[in-house]
């Protein structure tokens, strides 16, 4: 089933076109990465999916039907700009969000407890939000978006602000939800996570989809122009005409070949100069593809300043 479908969606603000003729499809049981540099139009796209803003043109379908607000009860949303009621008790807050999504109060309370245990923050339920650390608040918000068993989960930067232990917990939970057949869309700057978690991606730049498809296929479509060499002896071969760029970490070299650079020729040159322990042609990482596609101006890896 197509859980989300965007067809040539365009959204313009006063000064710029935030989203330009963007199309994408996400199926049930799929983990989908919405990627792009800051200001590319990711949040604008997500807001249109959530009915918070409406597209100037194009169509949005949720759960195989044209967009309707009722469908939002089956969507879990974790926005990038997060907020909780500071003075409210965590459990009351979760019940409130659950009820907004159509749960009964008692049911919402039960689920809040179960989820708090699953996310290892059961102790926090009776505390006020303002008493919790930022990471804990993040987990509460994560739960709030999942309490009502949504068929579609949309998360804008779900890992920002989490320590490695909690990031792994969230990753694990997302994979479990995916296995249950839910569609998950998340936007992130962390390419390593995308590579690990996502089945498909859409790379957005200046409001346009510049790269879309299954992660495997995208990577396979790129030329294997990276070479990893482990060697002992002279590093003279790193000056070969076949090489565009090379980094030498004393005996471990990461090489990018020139376009149509000949790897076999390089191997010969290397073997003539040094003892080779490893010579491997590898496909580019998503991070490299990202940088290459959006022209190196992207802010990758570190996340946004406001995380």
């Amino acid at each position: 089933m197509q859980v989300v479908e965007l067809e040539a969606v365009t959204k313009a603000y006063e000064s710029k076109v935030a989203v330009n003729e963007l199309s994408l499809k996400v199926e049930a049981g799929q983990m989908f990465g919405l990627l792009g540099p800051n200001g590319a139009g990711k949040t604008s796209t997500i807001r249109m999916m959530m009915g918070i803003t409406i597209p100037d043109s194009g169509r949005i379908r949720l759960f195989d039907k044209p967009f309707e607000r009722k469908a939002l009860e089956r969507v879990g949303y974790l926005p990038e700009e997060r907020g909780l009621y500071k003075k409210m008790k965590v459990v009351e807050q979760l019940v409130f969000f659950g009820r907004l999504h159509g749960l009964e109060a008692g049911e919402a309370r039960k689920k809040a407890k179960a989820w708090a245990e699953r996310m290892e923050i059961a102790d926090a339920l009776d505390k006020k939000t303002e008493e919790l650390s930022k990471g804990m608040q993040q987990k509460i918000q994560f739960i709030a978006s999942l309490l009502h068993d949504p068929g579609l989960i949309v998360m804008d930067e779900p890992f920002s602000g989490l320590d490695p232990v909690n990031a792994v917990l969230v990753e694990k939970t997302l994979l479990e939800l995916k296995a249950e057949g839910r569609a998950i869309i998340f936007s992130t700057h962390r390419m390593d996570q995308v590579e690990k978690l996502c089945d498909s991606i859409c790379l957005v730049d200046n409001g346009r989809a510049v790269l879309a498809g299954r992660v495997r296929e995208i990577k396979a479509s790129y030329e294997r122009n990276r070479v990893i060499v482990e060697f002992e002896g002279s590093a003279e071969f790193l000056k070969s005409e076949e090489i565009a760029e090379a980094k030498n970490f004393s005996g471990h070299a990461e090489i990018r070949l020139k376009e149509h650079g000949n790897a076999q020729k390089l191997l010969h040159e290397a073997a003539a100069a040094a003892t080779i322990y490893r010579f491997e042609l590898v496909e580019p990482s998503l991070e490299e593809i990202f940088i290459q596609t959006v022209g190196g101006k992207a802010n990758t890896g570190g996340g946004k300043a406001n995380g």
């Binding site: 603000y13 009860e73 949303y77 926005p79 997060r82 907020g83 409210m88 969000f97 907004l100």
Partner: protein, 414 residues
Amino acid sequence: MDNMRLIARREYLEQVKGKAFLATTIGLPAVFAMVFGIGVLANLGIGANEHLVIASGDVGLASAIQEQLLIDKKGKSTVDVVAATDAERSTVLEQVKGRSVDGMLWVDTPAGGLPKATYYSPSSGDFMTAARLKEALNDGLIKEHLTVAGMKQADIDAVVKGIAIDTFQVKKDGRLVPSNAMASFWKGYVMAILLSMTTIIYGMNVARSVIQEKTSRIFEVILAIAKPEDMLAGKLIGTAAVGMTQIAIWLATGAAIFSLPIAAAARTGSLQIQFSWTEGILFPTYFILGYLLYSSLFAGLAATCETEQELQMYMPLAAVPTWLSFAMILLIMNDSNSVWSVAASLFPPTAPIVMFLRMASQTPPLWQIALSIGLMIVTIWGVLWFTSRLYRVGILMYGKRATLPEILRWVRYS
């Protein structure tokens, strides 16, 4: 609808459970009581334990003044009479300087002319004492003259004491109701203050809660499930319910205190205050209308602001109609049916307060009340229409202004 109810409920519970609610529920009447209490006490205390000296060549006049001064204070103050000699004068002035005497009234009685009085005291602005002295001096003078003219003491006392006027208000149906201009002034005044304070306090609460949700970015989470109109309506209804709860607590407490034996004097004595059913119905009506007008305006303003500080700048502006209403208080009390009074009681921003000030002296014609309520409802509708649009675009705009076509698309949507 359901979302609106949930949002209203959350808003209500959060505010009612908050410390601010408790503080204002107890604090506001306490402040009122304190202001009134201090006023009453100060009034009782005027002239008490005072030590005055009257110096005059005319002993008869001096003792008449002394008698007059002592009448109201039942001996709590001391008034001495001394001869008007230079020696006494410097002695008493020395005592005034040393604060052992609060003041000296020096009365010259030139032969064949009117007495000339001078008052010496350590304070420069004690107009209450000056007024009492003037009254005592005049009464004393009359008494002395009448005594000289051979009038009987009892008759003189009766003349000087004067006659009290009983006032009755003639109602439309011909009933005569004992009235007290002062009491009805205070009643109208207190109700108007109560109305304006609660309206502004709760209007501000709505604005603050809008801005808090905006700065804490909670909007985006709720907007993913609830419509902005539901959020706004829920917020307005929830906060209105808080205000009604508070007013109900005050009224219930007030009624309980009023029915105590200790308050019997207030019910029958000089402070006879009567509350009519009309007032009982109109007070909550005008509260809700005034509140809706102000809070929806504030909510719209808040949605355009980025921080609470920015919002604060609008607040004095939004309170202008309230100031205007109170500035007109004398005008209204004087003639509650003048063109200005009627116009102000129909003009929606000032209507709630001015109508209550008018009602204090007499119930305005029904058509005027109906018209003012009608005008308010129309205005509220207009403001809400405008605010809800400002709101739904404003709350998601961080540092961006919405264009008209954008707003129009929002209107078409949902």
